[in-house]
C-alpha cells in the first residue's frame, strides 16, 4: 500500500506541482486503497476509476506540456452523492433515484473539474441527507473507520469516512444542520460549513433550500481552506449565492496567530447534556487558546433552546416541497401499481416504494406544518425563532470574534442505538443547527481522544462572510492539539484491516 495516501492534501499538491508524483499514480493509490478497505467501510455508493484516471491522465499531460495549472490540479477527491455529475449516477442515497445519471454537472463539480481534480467516486449519505448516521441510506450505512461498529456521522458519513480511511485526501460534503460538522466530529476529521451563499447550491439535490450549504471535508484545516477556495464564489445559477468574494481561506489558515482575538464560549452549548470527556477536551482547547494569547469570554444565546424545534419545522416544510418533483414523470424510479394506472396512482406507488421511512416522516411533518390553519403556529413561529437565533448571534458576535462549543454532545454512537428514537437522533445536531438557521459559517476540528478511544472535537463559529476567521483560529488550534497529543488526531485511528 502506497504511503502517499496518508499525507495531507496540501503536501500532495506540492508533490504534484514539483513532479514528485503524477496524478495517475496518486489517483491509482487511492483507488487501490478503496479496493482494499471500502468493502468494510462502505464510504462509496459509486467508484469511478475510469473517469478518475482519465482526468488524472489529462492533468499529467497538461502539466508535462507546461500548462499553468490550478494549485490542486491532479489531486483526487470524493464527492457526496447529492451533487450532480454527468459521468456518474447521482442517487442522494435514495432508491427513487437509483441509476439516475444527471444531464448536467453541479457548479461545485464543474469547479473541481476545471481545477483538474479527478473525481474518485460518489460518497454515501442518509437518504436525501436526512439523518445523522448514514443508517437511513437506502444503500446501507457507512462505517466509522475508528470503530466499524459505530456510526460515521450523518448525513455525510460517506465523505467523513472516506477521508478518515485514507481513500481520498479530500471530499465534498453538504451541511443542512450539521451534515458536514457532525461526521467530522465523530471521525476525527475537519469539516466546514461555509457562510450560506458562499458556495453555489446549483446541482446540489435540495434538502432544505434555506439551510443547505456545500463545504469541504478533509483531515486538516489548511486542506479544507484550499478546497473551500476552489469551490467558493458567486454563481449566476444560484440566486442565493453571495455576489462578493470572501477572500482567501488558505491565507487565513497560514496566519497562525490568535493574539488578542476574543473567543466566545456559548453558555447554552456546554456543561449539562454533554459527555464529560467531550467537555474535558473542550476545556483543554480553551486553555490552549488562552495560552496562545486569545481572550476567552462567555456569551449567552437563550433562543438556542428552541433551535431544534424550529429546525424540525423549517427543514421538513422546505423538504416536503423540494421532494415533490420525485413523481416518476421525468426521471428516476417509476412504479406502476396493479389496476388502472392513473397518474395519481403511479405517483403514489412510486413515492411509496422509492422513499425510505425518515424521508416519509419528514415529508408528512412538513406538509402538515405548511397546511392552512397550521402555518402560523408552526412554520410561521419557526421563522420567528430563526430571527431570534440570528439576533442571539449578533449580540454574541458583538462580544466575540469567534464563538466555540463542542461540536456534538457525545462521541460516535453504535449502529442501531438511536434508530428507533428520532428525537435522540435529532439531538446530535443541537450544537450545529443554530449556524444553519442563522446562515453563518461553522467549522468542526478534532481536539483529542475520549476515554472510549473515539475522537472528540470542537466547533468554531464566525459571523456571516467571516469564514476566514474559522480557518485562522482553526489552524492555530490544530497545531496546538498536535503538539499536545504528539501527532495528528487522525493518526490515533486504528489501522484498518486491509483486504488484498
Amino acid at each position: 500500500m502506497s504511503e502517499l495516501i496518508y499525507k495531507n492534501a496540501s503536501e500532495l499538491a506540492q508533490m504534484l506541482q514539483k513532479g514528485e508524483v503524477s496524478s495517475v499514480e496518486l489517483t491509482q493509490a487511492h483507488l487501490d486503497r478503496t479496493a482494499a478497505v471500502d468493502g468494510a467501510v462502505h464510504s462509496y455508493l459509486h467508484v469511478g476509476p475510469e473517469a478518475a484516471l482519465a482526468a488524472a491522465k489529462d492533468v499529467d499531460r497538461r502539466r508535462a506540456a507546461g500548462e499553468k495549472l490550478h494549485e490542486l490540479a491532479g489531486l483526487p477527491i470524493a464527492v457526496k452523492d447529492n451533487l450532480t455529475t454527468t459521468d456518474a449516477p447521482t442517487t442522494s442515497g435514495s432508491k427513487i433515484l437509483e441509476g439516475w445519471i444527471p444531464q448536467y454537472d453541479s457548479t461545485v463539480v464543474k469547479k473541481l473539474r476545471e481545477a483538474g481534480m479527478p473525481i474518485l467516486g460518489k460518497t454515501n449519505l442518509d437518504e436525501f441527507a436526512m439523518g445523522s448516521s448514514t443508517e437511513f441510506s437506502a444503500y446501507g450505512p457507512s462505517k466509522n473507520p475508528w470503530d466499524l461498529g459505530r456510526i460515521p456521522g450523518g448525513s455525510g458519513g460517506g465523505s467523513s469516512s472516506v477521508v478518515a480511511s485514507f481513500q481520498a485526501p479530500l471530499a465534498i460534503g453538504s451541511d443542512t444542520g450539521g451534515s458536514i460538522r457532525y461526521p467530522a466530529f465523530v471521525t476525527g476529521t475537519v469539516g466546514t460549513k461555509p457562510t450560506y451563499g458562499a458556495v453555489s447550491r446549483y446541482g446540489l439535490i435540495a434538502l432544505a433550500s434555506s439551510l443547505d450549504q456545500v463545504g469541504p471535508v478533509s483531515r486538516n484545516v489548511l486542506d479544507a481552506a484550499l478546497l473551500q477556495d476552489v469551490i467558493a464564489g458567486h454563481d449566476p445559477h444560484d440566486s442565493t449565492s453571495l455576489p462578493e468574494s470572501l477572500g482567501s481561506m488558505t491565507e487565513a489558515a497560514k496566519k497562525l496567530d490568535v493574539k488578542g482575538m476574543r473567543i466566545g464560549v456559548i453558555k447554552q452549548l456546554s456543561g449539562e447534556g454533554f459527555q464529560p470527556e467531550v467537555s474535558a477536551r473542550f476545556n483543554e482547547s480553551l486553555e490552549l487558546l488562552k495560552n496562545a494569547g486569545a481572550e476567552i469570554v462567555e456569551v449567552s444565546c437563550p433562543s438556542f433552546e428552541y433551535a431544534i424545534a424550529a429546525y424540525y419545522l423549517i427543514l421538513p416544510a422546505e423538504a416536503s416541497s423540494n421532494l415533490a418533483k420525485f413523481d416518476s414523470v421525468r426521471f428516476g424510479l417509476r412504479v406502476t401499481p396493479e389496476g388502472a394506472p392513473t397518474i395519481e396512482r403511479v405517483m403514489a406507488a412510486t413515492r411509496e416504494a422509492g422513499f425510505g421511512p425518515e424521508v416519509k416522516r419528514r415529508i408528512i411533518l412538513g406538509t402538515y406544518a405548511l397546511s392552512s390553519g397550521y402555518y402560523d403556529a408552526y412554520y410561521g413561529a419557526a421563522q420567528k425563532v430563526r430571527t431570534l437565533i440570528q439576533r442571539d448571534f449578533e449580540a454574541a458576535f458583538a462580544k466575540a470574534d469567534v464563538l466555540v462549543s463542542p461540536t456534538a454532545p457525545a462521541t460516535a454512537f453504535k449502529f442501531g442505538e438511536k434508530l428507533e428514537d428520532p428525537l435522540a437522533m435529532y439531538l446530535n445536531d443541537i450544537a450545529t443547527i443554530p449556524a444553519n438557521l442563522a446562515g453563518i459559517p461553522g467549522m468542526a476540528i478534532p481536539n483529542g481522544i475520549a476515554e472510549n478511544n473515539m475522537p472528540s472535537g470542537i466547533q468554531l463559529l464566525a459571523p456571516a462572510r467571516e469564514d476566514a476567521r474559522l480557518y485562522q483560529v482553526g489552524a492555530v488550534l490544530e497545531k496546538m492539539h498536535e503538539e499536545v497529543w504528539g501527532k495528528r488526531m487522525i493518526d490515533f485511528a486504528p489501522m484498518l484491516e486491509v483486504k488484498n
Binding site: T84, A206, P236, S321, V329
Partner: protein
C-alpha cells in the same frame, strides 16, 4: 353534459345583483423563460425548449429573468398600481404532471404590483372603474395532450403527453377586486375589461396578446345575490375563456344558470367551470373551496425582487400614453365621428387602424375595412376581428389598390379571402390570380358591343339623356367579365360610342 336550466336574462337581473371578478393571465413575450435561459417561443417542436431548470431536474435552481420583472412592473404601473419594494416569490404546492416541480413558483402575500384602477368603457358608452387588487409574477405550466378517448380530456384518455416548452414561460396574473354595479352590462364589462388589458399589454410591448394562442387568458368569477343583500353569493370560476365574445357569453350564461338555481332555492356550488364555445354553455369542473390548500410558503431558492425607486420611475417615465389620452388624440387625427370612433374602440381596433394608417391607408378606408368586411369575416368564423391573421400593412395595401383603381370593391373582397388564406400580400394575390380590373379598352369595347347586340336601344336612350339605361349594359359587361371590368371606364366608353 346535462342541460342547465336558464332564467330569462332580464328576469335574472330583476331578481339579482351581479358581482363579477376577473383574473387575467398575460403571457410575457420575453426572449427567455421566467427562471432559465430557454427560449420562450410558441409552436416549436414539443420539449425542445427545455433544460434542467424548467423540467425541474434534481439540484436545479431558478434565477429570475430581469426583463420579465421589468415587464411586470410596466404592467403594474400602466394599471396605476403601487410597486412592491420587496416582492417575494412563493411556492404554490400541488401535484400535476404538467408542473415539473409539483409546485408553481408564483407570488402570494407580496405581489410585485397591487392596488390599481382601470377605467373601462362598454359599448353603450357607459364607463366603469374596475379596481385592481394585484398583479403578480408566476411561471406557466407545461401543456398536456390527452390521447385516446373522445373528449380530449383526461377522463377516458389512454395516455397523456406532456410538452414542457411552455413550462416556465413568464406570466403576470392580474386580479380584480369584486366588481359591483355593472348590472345588465356585466358581461360586456367583463369583455371590455379584458380588451383593455390586451390593449395595455400590447401597447407596452410586453406581450403578443393573442388570445387564441393563450397569450391572454381569462378566468371569470360570477356570483349573484338578491338586491339589497350585503353578503356576497357563492361564486363560480369559469376557466380559460379564450376569446372576448366567449367571455361575454360565459358570464351571461352563468348569470342565467345561477339565477335559475337560486330561484328554485338550490345552492350554488363553489367550483371551477369550463366554457364550451360550441355548446354555448359552461360545465362543472372541480370543486374549489377557499380552503384549497396550496401550502404557500416563501420561495427559499430566490431572493426577493427589490426594484429601486429610480428604476421604477425610469419605467414610469417610459410608459406609452394613457389609453384615454390616446383615444382623444387619434380620434382627432383620424377625423372620425363619435359613433364611428366608438365602434372602433368597442371592437378593439385602434391598434389595427393605427397600423393600417401608418402603412399608408386613408383613415376612413382603414376603418371601413376593419369594421366592415374584416369584422364580417371574423364574425362568420366566430373569432374576434383582431385575431384574424392579417397585418395593418396588408389592409393598407388592399385599400390603396382600390383607391388606385387597380381593383374594385368586389375584387378586393375576393383578394382578401386569399390573403387570409395565407397566399401572400394583396398585390401578390392580385398578380398571381390575375384579379386586376380590366381597363384595357379593346377588351371592354368587345364586351360592350356584345352586350349592345342584345340591347340595341341603349345607345339611343343615352343620346336622349336617359343615362340609367347604361346600367343594363354595364351589368351585362360585368357579368360577362366576371366582375373584373372597370365599371367607370365602361360607362365612359358607352358615352363615347353614343356620341360618335
Amino acid at each position: 353534459m346535462a342541460k342547465d336550466e336558464l332564467m330569462n336574462y332580464e328576469k335574472a337581473l330583476e331578481q339579482f345583483e351581479v358581482v363579477i371578478g376577473l383574473e387575467v393571465h398575460v403571457e410575457l413575450n420575453t426572449n427567455t423563460k421566467m427562471f432559465c435561459g430557454c427560449r420562450n417561443e410558441f409552436g416549436d417542436e414539443p420539449n425542445t425548449n427545455v433544460c434542467p431548470i424548467c423540467i425541474g431536474l434534481p439540484g436545479s435552481l431558478p434565477a429570475v429573468n430581469k426583463r420579465a420583472v421589468e415587464s411586470s412592473i410596466k404592467i403594474g404601473l400602466a394599471l396605476g398600481c403601487e410597486i412592491a419594494p420587496n416582492g417575494r416569490f412563493a411556492r404554490k404546492n400541488y401535484f400535476y404532471p404538467d408542473l415539473a416541480k409539483n409546485f408553481q413558483t408564483s407570488q402570494y402575500d407580496e405581489p410585485i404590483a397591487f392596488e390599481g384602477l382601470l377605467q373601462v368603457e362598454v359599448p353603450s358608452g357607459n364607463s366603469f372603474t374596475v379596481q385592481i387588487e394585484r398583479a403578480h409574477m408566476e411561471e406557466d405550466a407545461g401543456k398536456l395532450t390527452h390521447v385516446g378517448g373522445s373528449t380530449g380530456r383526461i377522463q377516458g384518455a389512454e395516455y397523456s403527453l406532456v410538452d414542457y416548452n411552455r413550462a416556465g414561460v413568464p406570466l403576470v396574473e392580474i386580479v380584480t377586486k369584486p366588481v359591483y354595479g355593472a348590472g345588465a352590462e356585466a358581461p360586456e364589462l367583463a369583455a371590455a375589461y379584458v380588451r383593455s388589458i390586451r390593449e395595455i399589454v400590447k401597447g407596452l410591448g410586453v406581450s403578443d396578446a393573442k388570445m387564441e394562442r393563450g397569450n391572454v387568458r381569462c378566468d371569470a368569477n360570477v356570483s349573484l345575490r338578491p338586491h339589497g343583500q350585503e353578503k356576497l353569493g357563492t361564486r363560480t370560476e369559469t376557466k380559460n375563456v379564450n376569446s372576448l365574445r366567449s367571455i361575454e357569453r360565459a358570464v351571461r350564461y352563468e348569470i342565467q344558470r345561477q339565477a335559475a338555481l337560486l330561484a328554485k332555492g338550490t345552492a350554488i356550488i363553489q367550483e371551477t367551470r369550463h366554457w364550451h364555445e360550441d355548446k354555448g354553455a359552461t360545465s362543472s369542473g372541480r370543486p374549489k373551496s377557499d380552503a384549497d390548500d396550496y401550502r404557500y410558503f416563501p420561495e427559499p431558492d430566490l431572493v426577493p425582487v427589490q426594484p429601486s425607486k429610480e428604476w421604477i420611475e425610469e419605467l414610469r417615465a417610459g410608459l406609452p400614453e394613457k389609453p384615454a389620452d390616446r383615444r382623444k388624440r387619434v380620434q382627432a387625427e383620424w377625423g372620425f365621428a363619435d359613433l364611428e370612433f366608438r365602434d372602433v374602440v368597442n371592437a378593439g381596433l385602434m391598434d389595427q387602424i393605427e397600423e393600417t394608417v401608418a402603412a399608408g391607408a386613408k383613415p376612413q378606408a382603414a376603418r371601413k375595412w376593419w369594421t366592415g368586411e374584416l369584422a364580417r369575416i371574423a364574425n362568420s368564423q366566430e373569432k374576434d376581428v383582431i385575431d384574424l391573421e392579417i397585418s395593418g400593412a396588408y389592409v393598407a395595401e388592399l385599400a390603396n389598390l382600390v383607391e388606385a383603381g387597380k381593383i374594385n370593391d368586389r375584387l378586393a373582397r375576393e383578394v382578401l379571402t386569399f390573403v387570409l388564406d395565407g397566399e401572400g400580400s394583396p398585390a401578390e394575390v392580385v398578380a398571381k390570380r390575375g384579379l386586376e380590373v380590366v381597363s384595357d379598352d379593346g377588351a371592354l369595347i368587345a364586351a360592350i358591343e356584345a352586350a349592345l347586340a342584345k340591347q340595341p336601344d341603349v345607345l339611343d336612350a343615352i343620346r336622349e339623356g336617359r343615362m340609367q339605361a347604361a346600367g343594363a349594359v354595364i351589368g351585362a359587361v360585368m357579368q360577362a367579365m366576371k366582375g373584373s371590368a372597370d365599371a367607370g371606364r365602361v360607362r365612359e366608353l358607352l358615352i363615347e360610342m353614343a356620341n360618335k
